[in-house]
Amino acid sequence: MSIGWYLAVSAIVFCTGAFGVMTRRNPLVVLLCLELMLNGANLSLIAFSRMWGNGDGQILAIIVMTVAACEVCIGLGMIVAIHRRRLPIDVDELRELQG
């Protein structure tokens, strides 16, 4: 398969994740959609890495996976803290920082 097919799949996955981030209201699902966007970026990184026969893109993909794991850790910790304070788990209701 040519590299372009993989890039098309990665673009579709990225846009699906962006749609979910914009429309969903549960922060858990928003985090999942962020994972989708990161995975789309990862797929294009690895496709470009294959295109040039160079491993740098794979290293960058591994680093992206690390950052995604850190983001999941912090995000889920925040969701558990929100749950402990009996606040609604809804990104539309949590708007104190917005003023």
């Binding site: 996955v13 858990l28 294959r50 295109m51 026969g53 491993g55 290293i59 680093i63 889920l76």
Partner: protein, 234 residues
């Protein structure tokens, strides 16, 4: 063969992504993301990224998704009831507009990305990639990745390990049980327990000290059945 595998895996990837976005129950979204990650690992294998595919399956689809399932099981049921009671008014107000705007933005982004990636007419994009010869230390194998990580990208590697440490500590600090956030009866129940807590049952250092203390006392007076009640807590 490889193109058949590509289309099966690509359909799995896209179906998993759409499932994550459309399922209303977050638990099903997590399961859809697991399917998405497994299909994505097949695509990585087709792109000769063997180590990244294995790490994806083990770390991502294994560990991170288990964390998600735990949090969904901890939070999820209450979220449903809150979703029904508290937030009916904002949903009725803005759901359709948000969905249309999101779809519009995502569609525009997709068209733009496809133009940027495929419409540029680059010759390398439509090719099959660089020549590849299988072997123990070629492109994408664990030996290759490890060599790169420990030579050229050593600083990145160390920085990411530091980032992981900070995220682990931050997750513990964020999700721990804070004093002052409990209910009143829970706080009243906890306070005398804290005062009367026997030494040696609190921190790990205290526990080890209590263990050493009890061991020394057992060696000192053998056969003495009477234990000091606050000598080690056990």
């Amino acid at each position: 063969m490889s193109s058949v595998l590509f289309f099966i895996a690509a359909i799995g990837v896209i179906a998993g992504a759409i499932g994550v976005v459309t399922f209303s129950n977050p638990f099903y979204s997590v399961l859809a993301l697991v399917g998405h990650l497994l299909s994505l690992a097949v695509l990585f294998l087709l792109l000769r990224a063997e180590f990244v595919a294995a790490a994806q399956v083990v770390v991502y689809a294994g560990a991170v998704m288990v964390l998600y399932v735990f949090v969904v099981a901890y939070v999820g049921d209450e979220e449903q009831s809150l979703d029904g009671v508290l937030s009916r008014r904002p949903r009725a107000r803005g759901a359709d507009g948000r969905k249309a705007t999101g779809a519009l933005f995502a569609g525009v982004l997709l068209v733009e990305l496809l133009i940027a990636l495929l419409g540029s007419g680059l010759k390398a994009v439509s090719g099959d990639g660089a020549p590849y010869a299988p072997g123990p230390k070629t492109f994408g194998t664990p030996a290759y990745i490890g060599n790169l990580l420990l030579t050229r990208f050593l600083l990145v590697f160390e920085a990411s390990s530091l980032l992981l440490l900070i995220a682990a500590v931050g997750g513990v600090v964020l999700a721990r049980r804070r004093r002052g956030l409990e209910d009143d009866e829970e706080r009243d129940r906890l306070t005398p327990l804290d005062i009367l807590r026997p030494r040696g049952t609190g921190t790990m250092v205290e526990g080890v000290e209590g263990l050493a203390l009890a061991h020394a006392r057992g060696a000192g007076d053998l056969g003495d059945e009477h234990r000091d009640p606050d000598g080690g807590g056990w």
